[in-house]
Each structure stands twice: as structure tokens, then as C-alpha cells.
């Protein structure tokens, strides 16, 4: 009874979950694309707009001070949330993609040259492939790829063989947005560091489902977004070890990132402002505080019985039906989070998504910004359902019935 209350309590925090679509109850199974926003975040955004809207850092007036305090105290909260050693290592960006582009550009400028190598994995989101391709093209460097096996499990044992004295950085995802498998970050860091190679982790999905401690895992860069973590869109974080951030040139110029500007030359502000050019998203960044609080609650809830029940019901259904092929099957010690991508024999993923939509169920279809991974499995796209702890076993039950009906219509 207590547990039932708990999921309902979680649902009550998110007003949008009561929405009806096409006259049916909304079933929101697209959480890996973006999570829903709780009332507290919506209220905070409104309150900032109503009571403390002013540009941060520059002015001396009351509102500017309010806004600056809210923005900068969020930086402290993020530092604690991911276990960073100092606030200077926390850079606010517009999201994971911006964070990775920042590193690819600036780290690339400082450390990547002709003939050097960058390693990514086969399961990366385009946001952790394309920025590296761009820097590799610019610097005439080489991009190498850690493969995944037929279950979607990252073949970490291949990493050692890919690293050599030209390897400059390894960039891998914490959790693939397609496969939902948790990659062994600490092992990847251990192997890479044993060769003196830094590691960037794309934490867009990871931060949602896993407790992150950047000092313990010893990652060099960790990138994540606010919008997948119950906060406002257009917010993101780049954690970088100070020794790297200090050695990297600015990504963009202008605004508060300067120390002095003369036509004879400009000197740059210290960390973290060096990487925060232009007007920052000061209306949205403070919502990260609410988002982080909720993320901690949600991670716990995910492991509790009712969420675990919905999760395992979905897993059993998608892995136990001979018409369905599930990608990202956990083996051995690999943990899976409730992100399920699959194909149905003889049925196009987009047809299924379209019919499920009319049944009130929001799912994702297509390449999921991971075209190389689609090619790896020889498919043009997949259907993805991704659950949050506010999703219920009843919703999974309804999804099962709906998917069966959709398959019957289409097959």
C-alpha cells in the first residue's frame, strides 16, 4: 500500500501526466528523449521571471545580485551532486551536445594534432560522434571505434588494443540512449589512464539513472543535460578536471569570459567563466537544483518494488516474445536501465509508433540519433520505450495490449 502511494505521489508532482491525448490517458514512454517537468520546476521558472529576472554577474543592483546568487549557488549544488572537487570545474552549457562540442573543440585545439587518434564507441549518440569527426577532420586525426557485441554490450576488452601512443582522448557514453546498458566507466578510465589518455563521458542518460561521482570514477570530463533530469531545457553541465580546463583555450569569445580586452590582445577570465561566453541561461539554470533533488529521489524510486515491477514486466514482455527483437540485453554484471529499443519482425517501427500514438502512448521511433548503431544491427530504425519511476505497471500492461493490437493491425 505504501509503495502504491509512492508512485502516485511521484505522479502527482508532474501535472502533464494527467493529460489526455485523443481522448485517452497519456502514457509517456519517451523519457529518454526528455523527462517531464515537475510543478516545482515550472513554479521556479515562473517565479524567476516574475521576481528575479536580471542579467547575472555584471550589474550592482538588487535583482542582478539575486539572479547571480541563484545561478552561482546552482554551480555549488552541481559540484556536490557529482562529487567534483571544486566549483571552478563546473561549466554551464546549453546541454550535453554543447558540452561535448566545447571539449572536442577546445581540447582538440590544445591537444589533438595530425595523425593523432580519438576513440569513441559504436553505441554513441551522434552528439558524441560528430563533434569528434569535425575535430578529426580539422586536425587530420583518426577516429577509432570500440565495438559492441550482438547483445549490445560494449566490448571493453577491445579498448586496450585500440589505444596507442597517438591516442589523445576516449569519449564514451555512460548509458547508451538506445541500448540502456550501463557501461563500465571506471574500467574504461582505468585502462585509458594506464596509457595516460583522458576520458570524456557522455552522461545524458547516465546522470538520470546512476549516482555519479567524478572523483571516485576519476573521469576527466562528464557532460549532461538538465532536460532529461526534470529541469528546464537549455541547461547543461560540463564537468572537467581543472588541469584540462586550465590548459584548454576558450570555445567562444565574448561576454564574461574575458579578463581585459584591448585591440592589442585579450586576456581571459579564470575558470569557469572562461568557458561561459555570452549571456547565460540564468532563468533556467537554477531549475537544475530542483532537478537534481528529484533525480536523487527518482534513482532510489527506480530500484523500489513498484518501478522495478513495471521495469521487469516490460523487460519480460519485450525479451520473451518471438516476434520482437530487443537490443541491449544485459549479460553478466552489466546493468540495464528502463530504456528498451526493439524491432518487430515484418513491421516498420514508424507504423507502430504512429498507431501507438493514437492509442495515447508516446514512444520514439527511428534511428534515435545513433545511425552507426542501427547499421551495426542492420536495421533502418527501432522503436524505443523509456520509462521513468512515475510510470506504472498498469501503463506497461496497457502498452502490451496496445502493441499486440498494433502488430495485429500491421502484420
Amino acid at each position: 500500500m505504501m509503495i502504491v502511494m509512492r508512485t502516485q505521489e511521484l505522479r502527482n508532482l508532474f501535472p502533464i501526466l494527467n493529460t489526455k491525448v485523443y481522448g485517452r490517458n497519456l502514457v509517456y514512454f519517451d523519457n529518454a528523449a526528455t523527462s517531464q517537468r515537475p510543478q516545482s520546476v515550472i513554479d521556479l521558472m515562473t517565479s524567476i521571471a516574475l521576481n528575479s529576472n536580471a542579467n547575472i554577474h555584471r550589474a550592482v543592483h538588487y535583482l542582478a545580485n539575486e539572479a547571480t546568487v541563484m545561478y552561482e549557488s546552482t554551480r555549488d549544488a552541481v559540484k556536490d551532486f557529482i562529487g567534483a572537487s571544486s566549483r571552478e570545474e563546473i561549466v554551464f552549457t546549453s546541454g550535453t551536445t554543447a558540452s561535448i562540442n566545447l571539449v572536442a573543440y577546445s581540447f582538440g585545439e590544445a591537444f589533438i594534432g595530425e595523425g593523432d587518434e580519438v576513440i569513441v564507441s559504436e553505441a554513441e549518440h551522434h552528439s558524441d560522434i560528430v563533434p569528434w569527426q569535425i575535430v578529426c577532420q580539422r586536425k587530420r586525426a583518426v577516429l577509432k571505434v570500440i565495438p559492441v557485441d550482438d547483445n549490445g554490450v560494449l566490448q571493453t576488452d577491445k579498448l586496450e588494443g585500440l589505444i596507442n601512443d597517438r591516442t589523445r582522448i576516449v569519449a564514451v557514453t555512460h548509458i547508451s540512449n538506445v541500448l540502456g546498458l550501463v557501461n563500465p566507466i571506471e574500467e574504461i578510465v582505468r585502462i585509458s589512464h594506464s596509457h595516460g589518455v583522458p576520458v570524456l563521458v557522455d552522461g545524458a542518460q547516465g546522470i538520470v539513472h546512476q549516482k555519479v561521482n567524478v572523483q571516485k570514477s576519476d573521469v576527466d570530463f562528464y557532460a549532461f543535460s538538465g532536460h532529461k533530469m526534470y529541469s528546464a531545457t537549455g541547461t547543461g553541465v560540463l564537468y572537467g578536471k581543472r588541469k584540462w580546463l586550465d590548459a584548454m583555450p576558450p570555445f567562444m569569445g565574448g561576454g564574461e569570459m574575458i579578463d581585459t580586452v584591448k585591440f592589442s590582445g585579450t586576456t581571459f577570465a579564470p575558470l569557469p567563466e572562461k568557458f561561459e561566453a555570452g549571456t547565460q541561461n540564468f532563468n533556467a539554470v537554477p531549475t537544475l537544483k530542483e532537478g537534481m533533488k528529484l533525480a536523487e529521489l527518482m534513482r532510489e524510486a527506480e530500484l523500489e518494488s513498484q518501478s522495478a515491477e513495471a521495469f521487469s514486466m516490460m523487460y519480460d514482455f519485450l525479451s520473451g516474445d518471438e516476434r520482437i527483437r530487443l537490443y541491449g540485453v544485459p549479460c553478466g554484471t552489466t546493468r540495464k536501465v528502463p530504456v528498451f529499443s526493439f524491432t518487430v519482425k515484418g513491421v516498420h517501427h514508424e507504423d507502430l509508433a504512429l498507431i501507438l500514438d493514437k492509442m495515447g502512448i508516446a514512444v520514439r521511433s527511428g534511428q534515435m540519433c545513433a545511425e552507426p548503431l542501427m547499421d551495426r544491427f542492420g536495421v533502418t530504425g527501432m522503436l524505443r520505450v523509456s520509462l521513468a519511476p512515475y510510470n506504472t505497471a498498469e501503463e506497461v500492461e496497457y502498452f502490451k495490449k496496445s502493441l499486440n493490437k498494433a502488430i495485429d493491425m500491421l502484420a
Binding site: 513491421v347 514508424e350 507504423d351 504512429l354 533502418t380
Partner: protein, 138 residues
């Protein structure tokens, strides 16, 4: 042969018989399943329509002053949509097609009820049909 407008009105009427979009999809799926088969070896890139998430091949030929279309898709609802377009526009003269405003598509509410990516695909299909008419008149 019935006029283009008459055929279009019949399509609009058929669609209005279904209250639920699921039923409309069911109808499109049927159309897709019954679409005349398209030779595998002619599914070439030059026949592929840009702007669709699912793949759509659309081919046309001019015969006795009339345009004839053939198409296929790997997604069945899309195949139903293209089948619907073909049933309306195949066997028409290029000038009939060039002079049409394609407004019956708005009337059946197809575009608004598709995902944006699929709506783009629909627009690309219509563009291809229009282009075929324009090229045939040159």
C-alpha cells in the same frame, strides 16, 4: 472516367465515415497491403523520395498523354498514403494534375494527423507528383 474532383470527394467521404483515427489508419493499411507490387530491382536511389523517415520509392511514366504512377514503401501506413495518392492521380493528364490544388488532403485531415516527419514525407510525395506533371508538359 470520373473527374478528378469527383474522385477526391469520394476519398474525403470515405475518410469521414471513420470517426477514429485508428480506423482511418486501418483503412490506409488495407490500401497499403493491396498496392500493386513494385519491382525490387527498380527501388533505386533516383526513385527514392527525400524527406521521409520511412523509405518511399515513386516512379512515373507518361502513356497516351496520361501519367501513371507506381510506388512502394517499407512502412505500411506510408504505403497506404502513397497508394491513396496514386489512386487519385494515376491515369490523369499532366495538365489536370498541374491544375489541381491537392486540397482534398487537407480535407481528410491527413497532414495534421501525421508526425511532422511523416507530414514532410507527404509533402515530398505531392511535390514529386507535381514535378512529374510539370516535366511531362514540357
Amino acid at each position: 472516367m470520373e473527374s478528378l474532383k469527383t474522385v477526391q470527394n469520394e476519398v474525403v467521404e470515405t475518410f469521414s465515415m471513420y470517426d477514429e483515427w485508428l480506423d482511418k489508419y486501418e483503412y490506409l493499411i488495407e490500401l497499403g497491403k493491396n498496392l500493386e507490387s513494385y519491382p525490387e530491382n527498380e527501388k533505386t536511389d533516383d526513385k527514392l523520395i527525400k524527406g521521409c523517415q520511412s523509405r518511399v520509392w515513386l516512379d512515373w511514366r507518361l502513356e497516351d498523354g496520361k501519367l501513371h504512377f507506381r510506388a512502394d514503401s517499407d512502412a505500411i501506413i506510408t504505403k497506404g498514403i502513397i497508394s491513396l495518392l496514386i489512386s487519385v492521380y494515376s491515369g490523369r493528364t499532366p495538365s489536370e494534375i498541374a491544375g489541381d490544388d491537392f486540397s482534398f488532403i487537407e480535407k481528410i485531415g491527413l497532414k495534421e494527423n501525421l508526425s511532422p516527419t511523416r507530414a514532410n514525407g507527404l509533402v515530398s510525395m505531392i511535390d514529386t507528383i507535381r514535378k512529374a506533371a510539370a516535366e511531362s508538359m514540357q
